[in-house]
Assembly symmetry: C2
Amino acid sequence: MRGVVLNGPGDVGVVDREDPRIVEPTDAIIKVTAACVCGSDLWPYRGVQKSTGPAPMGHEYVGVVEQVGGQVTRVKPGDFVVGSFFASDDTCEICRAGYQSRCVNAQPLGAIGTQAQYARIPLADGTLVATPGMPDADIVPSLLAASDVLGTGWFGAVAAEVGPGKTVAVVGDGAVGLLGVLAARRLGAERIVIFSRHADRQKLAAEYGATDVIVERGDEGVALLKEMTGGLGAHSVIEAVGTQESMMQAIRSTRPGGHVGYVGVAHGVAIPGDELFFSGVHLHGGPAPVRRFLPELVDLIWDRRIDPGKVFDLTLPLEDAAEGYRAMDERRAIKTLLIP
Amino acid sequence: MRGVVLNGPGDVGVVDREDPRIVEPTDAIIKVTAACVCGSDLWPYRGVQKSTGPAPMGHEYVGVVEQVGGQVTRVKPGDFVVGSFFASDDTCEICRAGYQSRCVNAQPLGAIGTQAQYARIPLADGTLVATPGMPDADIVPSLLAASDVLGTGWFGAVAAEVGPGKTVAVVGDGAVGLLGVLAARRLGAERIVIFSRHADRQKLAAEYGATDVIVERGDEGVALLKEMTGGLGAHSVIEAVGTQESMMQAIRSTRPGGHVGYVGVAHGVAIPGDELFFSGVHLHGGPAPVRRFLPELVDLIWDRRIDPGKVFDLTLPLEDAAEGYRAMDERRAIKTLLIP
């Protein structure tokens, strides 16, 4: 089969890779209908995160089950499925508490590489959620978004305790931040402020429910947010970048007793304990337990009540993956969908 | 009046200070019945936190109202009162959300110095809680504990989302940690593990409801806690020290999705973002909003259902404050009560 590999910083290739096969009786093999490039794929692409190439890439996917191992009972060949970017058994104590991305048997799909024609999904019963039938083509991007970027934005909003009557701020106008806006709207937020300097992203944020835009960053942005909120800061802040600056901006944007939901994969972040202490905020986040939210998100998409697929503003054949990475790196695209 | 001052690291004096008087119409003057030395007073005493002496000391207090300003309506001369270590109006949006220590008009009592015969309490209506009558002498230490150390341990437990069926770990066996144990027991924890190397503190922890003791610290202590909890870690961890080591021990002791409640005043702490991210824990804490809990805590003490005053294992006249500090610094005492 054909699949994407990262040979080194800035060097994306599409190569022949061995067809996946069932290894464990809990595995499923899927034919990938659509995959995509994640903001977190840009960390190794940019060389910020070390990688030893050629490394298979991709951890987001929707597809059709081709084959299942002997112990798989909840999905069957022919099912259209969405899965999380972490395989999880969905039965351990951590999964049952809703933290499937930290399942005691968790396996990252990134190691498997779903930017490919086929993929082996471990722990298929715990990981995959079948849709009610074969989806219409127009909702495939949205179902794909549920696999990570929507689930991650959703978790950011849940971790930030977004709810009715609250003012929410979103740090980061990438796909996760934008879908954090969508989640905040669905979860009943009264006011949703996005920090964004890009007109196209501001526009999509408004479509998803943002009520205000702040163009300024850092402490200047924080000061403007405080002005909007009677000097107090937001009740809930979604951090969707993962840098020192974005994390501090999120903490400083939150009122005492408020909640920061951080879902940007942290790189080079060190949170000063004394500032955190006196901020009085709640901090929660990490790799989103997408599986917790998948059944609900699939339903919302199936019923066309949300349209997270709009974050894909570039669709390319798998063979053109290199251009898909480049466009995101250069911010020409919010998010690239790849068709194997 | 007589009052304690810190002249410099290790140099505690008891000197003549000006009698406090009503400055704002929202002030009250109290005659201090009992005050005490806080673990956080040891930071400047040890020179870890800079101070410019001579600085008035003390922020915990119970006493009898002597005089009130013209706008004070909820307490009156003759009332026995307990107050938080932060004065708060108890009416602003932050107070109403339960974060009185971060009230928009918050004033730290530490700047006033309650280790003295009298003290001016700002925002008396919002800060002070009157007891149902004059307390018997035996519960005065417990009421004094409510002013900070009990309220802080209680907040640590609440911030760590302690509740029925949960396993709780407590990092720190000082007075706050010990009262974190008491709070965890009252809040229904199933199992309470205290990290402690001191026999006397282990004993008091057991009296307060600890079910297990771990003598080891750091990663060795974490490994033992994980062994006790099926490899997962505790649901709730109370951090009651404020060092880098204690904070990391707390985070590492918590299972994914679990809660760290940190109440040790952070000194020199920097939390690595990547480790925090992948830990999947909730972090919450800071200066305890003691005022939120005071009515409940005063009731529990008044009815003799809890006995937090046991943490005072040394009682001295105010004039002997220097020895009170020394005894805590050298760990000869858990906590020193001072009688003006």
